[in-house]
């Protein structure tokens, strides 16, 4: 093993590597598809077939640390310091485990995971999502209204953030007046899951937000118990399967917190990356604009080429072998979906957009196996409706001249920080 492996720039979060990590993944796939990375304390798994093997075998590969050992130990060290210094936070935590640490869905294993997942699958089914479509379009139009006459906008903060946030807030029954608070919680929660640079202040902020979030949704859960409505909270509160124990309050709170985080930054980054592809290729933009049936194909290729979640982590619960490499029990693995999506054994011309790719949906950006993204249908619908609305309302969408693009410095979440655009209001 070299002291400075070729992927060092990526580990150092150098801006160019973060913007385009794909060449590093390609070399790993070629030379060392299951590679121990000291700096991460993980094996990096980069080939499509190996990634599938990991995520399809949850009895071997546990999801209990989905954001990896580094993020986990970082959080624990800071948590300990905060608990020693901050009495207010000690008191908050006396009420119970922070919602973000409850093992539920993303960070749960069978049998608990399967019980939880079966109870909530229907809440995000394609049918439920179809019922939400008009509401999603209204939200998109509302966001566009705010800048349509200005001829320019910052696409991320003025559209891509607001759409999924408002959609999930609406689904969770959060009134418009509470949206700024909801957004603050969302930003704070990402600290735990998004692998962002953690500090005591941000962690303390996250813990306070989690306590506020829990109190807010405890009262909503109580409301919906007595007064069920057609919304996500009611679906979760009233989920019943014969012979299965219903969700506990702690499980429900953990789920709502995951819906909030998993559904926000991810979709924001998808919208921004799809828009970047369009403004970077005039022919593509013109083609998709003139034939709206191509929008789903564009969204799917944006998902494949620039997964908002570049990869997640697993822990091997027993000694095993992967791609010819021995994996000791207790090892962590970084399962790099973004690399699998570029594997030429699976996708011919893997680095280019092909709107009519036959196996377009075989990408792993929503994962695979029992943890397959619960919100996949919703995410796809948001993408499709967003671009329909944008094409209806705006002409000549272009990247603002001289715009400098930069990416979030993270392995876990990949996306633009800002995307300045110019356009003309459509007649």
């Amino acid at each position: 093993m070299t002291t400075c492996p070729h992927y060092q720039p990526l580990l150092d979060l150098e801006p160019e590597a973060v913007a385009c990590p794909y060449p590093y993944f390609a070399r790993l796939r070629e030379e060392s598809p299951v590679e121990w990375i000291d700096a991460l304390g993980c094996f990096a798994v980069t080939r499509y077939d190996d990634v599938l093997e990991v995520v399809r075998n949850p009895e071997t590969y546990s999801s209990r640390m989905p954001t990896g050992p580094q993020a986990m130990s970082q959080t624990m060290v800071l948590l300990q310091e905060i608990l020693m210094e901050d009495e207010e936070i000690r008191e908050l935590l006396a009420d119970g485990l922070p919602v973000g640490l409850t093992p539920v869905l993303l960070n749960a294993d069978p049998p608990a995971h399967d019980r939880q997942r079966n109870l909530v699958n229907r809440a995000f089914s394609p049918r439920r999502v179809r019922e939400m479509e008009k509401g999603i379009r209204d939200i998109a139009d509302g966001l566009i209204d705010a800048f349509v006459d200005r001829g320019e906008c910052e696409f991320v903060s003025e559209f891509a953030v607001g759409l999924p946030l408002t959609v999930i807030a609406g689904a969770l029954g959060v009134p418009d007046g509470d949206l700024p608070t909801f957004k603050r919680w969302s930003d704070d929660f990402v600290v735990a899951i998004g692998n962002h640079l953690l500090s005591k202040e941000r962690l303390a902020s996250m813990l306070r937000s989690q306590a506020e979030f829990a109190a807010y949704f405890r009262s909503k859960i109580a409301e919906r118990r007595d007064d069920p409505r057609v919304d996500l909270i009611s679906d979760v509160v009233h989920a019943r399967i014969d012979g299965t124990e219903p969700l506990s309050e702690q499980e429900m709170l953990g789920m709502f917190s995951q819906f909030l985080v998993a559904g926000n930054e991810t979709t924001t980054k998808l919208l921004a990356s799809a828009m970047l592809r369009l403004v970077g290729d005039r022919e593509l933009m013109a083609g998709v604009r003139s034939d709206r049936s191509l929008i789903p194909g564009l969204v799917e290729e944006a998902l494949r080429l620039d997964p908002p979640v570049q990869g997640l982590f697993r822990v091997a619960d027993r000694e095993t072998e992967l791609g010819g490499v021995r994996i000791p029990a207790g090892s962590s693995l970084w399962v790099v979906y973004a690399s699998a999506n570029r594997d030429e054994t699976q996708f011919a011309g893997a680095d280019t957009v092909e709107l009519d790719r036959a196996n377009a949906k075989a990408h792993l950006s929503f994962g695979q196996g029992i943890h397959y993204c619960l919100g996949a249908s919703l995410s796809r619908a948001e993408g499709r409706i967003a671009f329909d609305a944008l094409f209806d309302r705006l002409d000549d969408i272009e990247l603002q001249a001289g715009a400098e693009l930069s990416y979030e410095p993270s392995y876990a979440l990949h996306g633009l920080r800002a995307l300045p655009l110019t356009f003309r209001r459509a007649d």
Binding site: N121, S125, P126, R127, K361, F366, Q368, G369, I370, Y372
Partner: protein, 68 residues
């Protein structure tokens, strides 16, 4: 040929429906169903893709048993 859907594995995410309608459809209970009446050999590729894409591998194809 028989197409079997494992109800316990089905997550109801509708990938099968999205790549191989009209062969697959999510029912009112959000569990997938296969419609044998819609089967035609030209749907072979779509069927195979649905089997591969299903996140929990809930769809399987069995050769029809010969009966004498």
């Amino acid at each position: 040929m028989r197409v079997i859907i494992d109800r316990d594995r089905c997550l109801g995410n509708g990938l099968c429906e999205s790549v191989a309608a009209p062969l697959f459809e999510l029912g009112d209970d959000d569990v997938a169903r296969f419609h044998p009446g819609e089967w035609d050999e030209r749907h072979r590729a779509a069927l195979e893709q649905a089997v591969q894409l299903c996140p929990t591998q809930a769809i399987s194809i069995r050769a029809e048993e010969e009966t004498s």
